[in-house]
Amino acid sequence: MSEMRERITRRIARELEDGDVVNLGIGMPTMGADFIPDDIRVIFQSENGFVGMGPRPPKGEEDPDLVNAGSEPVTIKTGGAFFDSTTSFAIIRGGHLDATVLGALQVDEQGNLANWKIPGKLVPGMGGAMDLTVGARQVIVATSHTTKKDQPKILPECTLPLTAKGEVDLIVTELAVFRVTGQGLLLEEIAEDTTVKEVREKTAAGFSIAPELTTFA
């Protein structure tokens, strides 16, 4: 895992509370679970059909029937349960997830998310992302602050086809943590090695700054 992804993952882990049921979108490594403090128990859901997802098994102990939605080998923890896809999406869409963490191509001031299609270029499909974004109580976007070509991903308004409208609650990048509010984005935290100025330069969306702005590492 790159340093950037590790930082984002570590910061997001702090959002999760004891007893939470959480779906980590594909691309969000299952290793995210490693950053959960020992004194709280977070239950991970995998949309291909189980809760209680545990870490990757030791080499040689992988089971082809026990993989996450990104086809990576995982394990099942005590207390976990398997189910079919109808139940999996009843959980997702029915408000039974406390949080989901998803990647973004673009995210905007209104909490809109685009992460499934670049017309004419990349069309992987939405998989479970639209249901996760609509259904989870808290939608956390985990994304690099800019594209590989240094273009902003946090925009006044998404230009790519949307995954969901107005559903994002929190945006976490390697530079900043934004909360989506009725009045637009609120910068709540910046990374310890950046400045508000740098964040402003790399963010196309407007945002206000929380009075008690803090830093994260």
Partner: protein
Amino acid sequence: MVKIVDKEQIKQLFAEGQRLMIGGFIECGAPHRLIDLLLESGVGNLTLIGNDTGFDDQKSGQLVVEKRLSRVIVSHIGTNKETGRQMNRGDLEVELIPQGTLVEQIRAGGAGLGGVLTPTGIGTPVAEESRTIEVDGREYLLAKPLRADLALVKAWKADRDGNLLFRYAARNFNPVMAMAGDKVVVEAEEIVPAGEIDPNQVMTPGIFVDYILQNGGEGASV
């Protein structure tokens, strides 16, 4: 996170005027101990969502007999004569829904759907109380989602994480109601240690469950 609680803690969950789902099919698979606590709690003016109103000489039926209900949303009341009497006197509002529609309404409530379209009831009085929606030239009735403040569920076995197994025909409405209550309260014949229920065989995942009534005496460690 699932909590295993005692009778008094269960009683504190009940309140006047609540909307309750109660599992079971004419007493089979109904949570009789939870219903006892509900009766003891003294609350009334309740709305019941369930398959039926039980037998008038058995446990589920006592909710009607003891006049705790002001409204029932069920598929059948024929096994409890008191229900019909209170309905005819105007003391109890009875909404009759086809059983397959009722279970889909509860499922829709639990699964985050805005409703389902069913052919059941077209051309009958049920259609007069529903919205008709035409899809590809065929008419369907809109069955809207149902949810409850509390769902009272009877399981055969529950583990400490809230994973449930049901037994035989006692399963019926219990698993679907466990998805559709704001809080889900379980009575189990047996509470088993974590890990004792095969994760591949769990019928209701523990994430749906909020409270399990402890077995044994008040102070018993379960």
